[in-house]
């Protein structure tokens, strides 16, 4: 089995909140283990406050982890200290942002970000080569005529076009893994598919992996090979998409699935009592963070934080109840 492209072990990020007197800790991400392979699209699904955006920023080196490590091609990011090493990583792992209305600098033409990126990360190119590359990536994301588009200002493009430029910027680095932080959430419904299809196409054509972060499990299913479900800073379930959706082990995943409106399906009963209150991540203490909303919670859930365990082939979940339903529990796969 080939080594994963990117892997995290025990990744945690905590923030101090409350000012200098009342010091409390916000546990944005706790003990996250995730794996992304080459040529793979992994979806990270969670509500706001689940920690998914924090993971994106940890992987993009915007934040430094409080503990745990991130391994890129087997090498820990903590060992990358020089600017050259950091830039090499940034060039391999760029990020696409959520808000098409603020992800491009309004004072410059849209070529600006792409050309700057090329200047910083592909220094062997001449000016003429950079311009040619910029046109190439803009065409690769489906925007034509490339030269004209590059000359426009962001406000002259639609939201969908701006997001494509965001992808073009990432493509310009010849990346191995693109972190896409809710790239379609702010776009109109009929435009989202175009971008999801684009990601699938880019993976097929250039072999680039994607970490697709979203709160929409339906689009995650449409696009991703593997699915990670996050709740309150923990990855509570992970596995191949179809496996997880066919037999969700964690009660939160089950709740999410039942809440997704699907016009073709009849209205699902149950889950009406859950009002979607946000999780408690400030000084949460031990125990499962979902227990207050969980219909299946037992005593252990309040005392011991459930660890991710392999419950079926490649299917990992962190839930005491799910674990207890196994005939013979298996140790965590690490």
């Amino acid at each position: 089995m080939t080594a994963p492209l990117l892997q995290t072990r025990g990744l945690s990020k905590q923030f101090k909140v409350g000012g200098s007197l009342a010091r409390r800790t916000l546990h944005a991400v706790d003990d996250a283990d995730l794996v992304i392979n080459r040529k793979e699209i992994v979806a990270l699904v969670g509500e706001s406050g689940s920690g998914k955006s924090t993971i994106a920023r940890l992987l993009a080196r915007v934040y430094r982890p409080t503990s745990g490590e991130i391994l890129y091609q087997g090498r820990s990011l903590a060992t990358m200290r020089t600017r050259r090493q950091t830039m090499a990583y940034r060039s391999d792992v760029p990020m696409v942002f959520q808000d098409p209305f603020s992800s491009l600098n309004p004072a410059y033409r849209v070529s600006h970000g792409i050309l700057r990126g090329l200047k910083l990360h592909r220094r062997e190119l001449t000016r003429a080569q950079r311009l040619a590359e910029a046109e190439r990536v803009v065409e690769a994301v489906g925007l034509t005529p490339a030269a004209q588009i590059l000359d426009r200002f962001p406000h002259e493009l639609s939201g969908g076009q701006r997001q494509r430029i965001g992808f073009a910027q990432a493509l310009a680095y010849e990346p191995k893994l693109v972190i896409a932080d809710e790239p379609v959430s702010m776009l109109d419904v009929s435009i989202r598919l175009g971008l999801l299809n684009l990601m699938a196409k880019l993976r097929a054509d250039s072999g680039v992996s994607f970490l697709y972060i979203t709160h929409d499990i339906a689009s995650a299913r449409y696009l991703a090979d593997r699915l990670l479900v996050m709740y309150a800073g923990h990855i509570v379930e992970s596995g191949p998409t179809e496996t997880v959706l066919a037999d969700p082990k964690h009660p939160y995943t089950q709740l999410l699935l039942s809440a997704v409106p699907d016009p073709r399906a009849p209205l699902a009963v149950g889950a009406d009592s859950d009002t979607g209150e946000p999780p408690r991540v400030i000084d949460p203490g031990p125990g499962c963070r979902f227990r207050w909303r969980c219909p299946l919670a037992i005593d252990t859930c309040a005392n011991i934080t459930p660890q991710p365990r392999l419950l079926a082939a490649e299917h990992v979940a962190a839930c005491h109840v799910a674990e207890s339903e196994l005939p013979a529990p298996v140790a965590a796969d690490n």
């Binding site: 076009q161 419904v189 435009i191 709160h215 299913r221 449409y222 809440a259 409106p261 699907d262 009002t275």
Partner: protein, 333 residues
């Protein structure tokens, strides 16, 4: 309709002035909302649905203005009504729930104070009565009345939205207009809120006019649906009819833009291009540049709404003698 409709909109047109001339945001929209009926207005950004809502609620401000048509609510024309009369109507007979509670709730007043404000603005009420009523509406939406003392920022997003709905129900109005009240919420909170709204509606008997860009959201809750595109209504009909047999290529495209979590995984196409700028509308049928089944007449003739069974669609394919749904069905496969 056996009883007279609660709200009738006839040919409503809203224009606003820009540096480049007049732009029509809502173009001749007509529809009705019956008593205790749940009507969903669906469309993407720029289609005019929010403008339509504000026009009905008479909340438009310059440079936007109603330039044609009328809005008949309880046998009175809202378009020509004076502000004074409108204020009598507002909140008692018709109320509004906004998209983001944080935009509509005053951050420096407690929830109870805001409810009291609303009550006192529209009726004489003793402090005790005000308190009673405030508690009652909070309980209706499932919030502990202790939160009357809370400030908006102390409540979660879902609770704030429910507080807004509670505020809208203070006088048990006949019509509640909602502008994307769930778009700022997560999927679980969203669903819970929708179920709550539906339950309240069935219990208290008010009509709902619900605007959203998320078609699947209203699929289980609305009785009738209006699909808007570029300022016009392109399809309207009973919800199930529109969902099961969409008559307009745009509605069909919208429905197919939702990946499903059940059933086989298929590649979907979405609708190519993007909604047109209102200042530069395509000629003839406004959807024709993006239509998968566009015909030669489409760029030339602007279609009216044709009857298609229980629904209506603004598509030349449904003109008498036209091929109708058949062509659209074939184009799918």
């Amino acid at each position: 309709m056996l009883t007279a409709p609660m709200l009738e909109v006839h040919d409503l047109t809203v224009c606003y002035a820009t540096d480049h001339g007049s732009v029509t945001a809502v173009d001749g929209v007509s529809f009705e909302v019956g008593r205790a009926e749940f009507v969903g207005v669906v469309g993407e950004s720029g289609c005019g649905k929010s403008t339509l809502l504000f026009a009905i609620a008479r909340l438009l401000s310059p440079p936007a203005a109603i330039t044609a048509g009328n809005v008949v609510f309880q046998a009175q024309n809202l378009v020509t009504m004076t502000e004074k009369k409108l204020n009598v109507l507002r909140w008692r007979d018709m109320s509004l729930v906004m998209q983001s509670a944080m935009n509509a709730l005053n951050p420096v007043l407690s929830i109870g104070a805001q409810f009291a404000d609303a009550i006192e603005a529209h009726t004489k009420s003793s402090a005790q009565q005000t308190l009673e009523r405030s508690r009652e509406v909070l309980r209706l939406v499932g919030i502990d009345p202790i939160h009357l003392k809370s400030y908006p920022h102390q409540l979660s997003g879902g609770m704030r939205q429910r507080a807004m709905i509670a505020m809208a129900l203070l006088f048990t109005p006949d019509l509640v207009i909602m502008d994307e009240p769930t778009s700022a919420l997560d999927v679980v909170a969203q669903r819970s809120l929708m179920v709550q709204i539906k339950q309240l509606q069935q219990r208290l008997g008010f009509a709902v006019l619900f605007v959203t860009h998320d078609m699947s959201l209203v699929s289980h809750f609305s009785d009738r649906l209006l699909v808007m595109y570029a300022g016009q209504v392109v399809e309207t009909g009973p919800t199930r009819t529109v969902f099961d047999t969409p008559a307009h290529p745009y509605s069909r495209g919208l429905l197919e833009a939702f990946p499903s979590i059940r059933g086989p995984r298929v590649e979907l196409a979405g609708i190519p291009g993007s909604p047109p700028e209102l200042a530069r509308l395509p000629s003839g049928c406004r959807f024709h540049p993006r239509c998968p089944v566009v015909q030669p007449e489409c760029p030339v003739t602007a279609p009216p709404l044709y009857d298609v069974g229980a629904a209506q669609a603004r598509c030349l394919l449904h003109a008498p003698g036209g091929v109708g749904l058949e062509l659209i069905e074939r184009a799918r496969s």
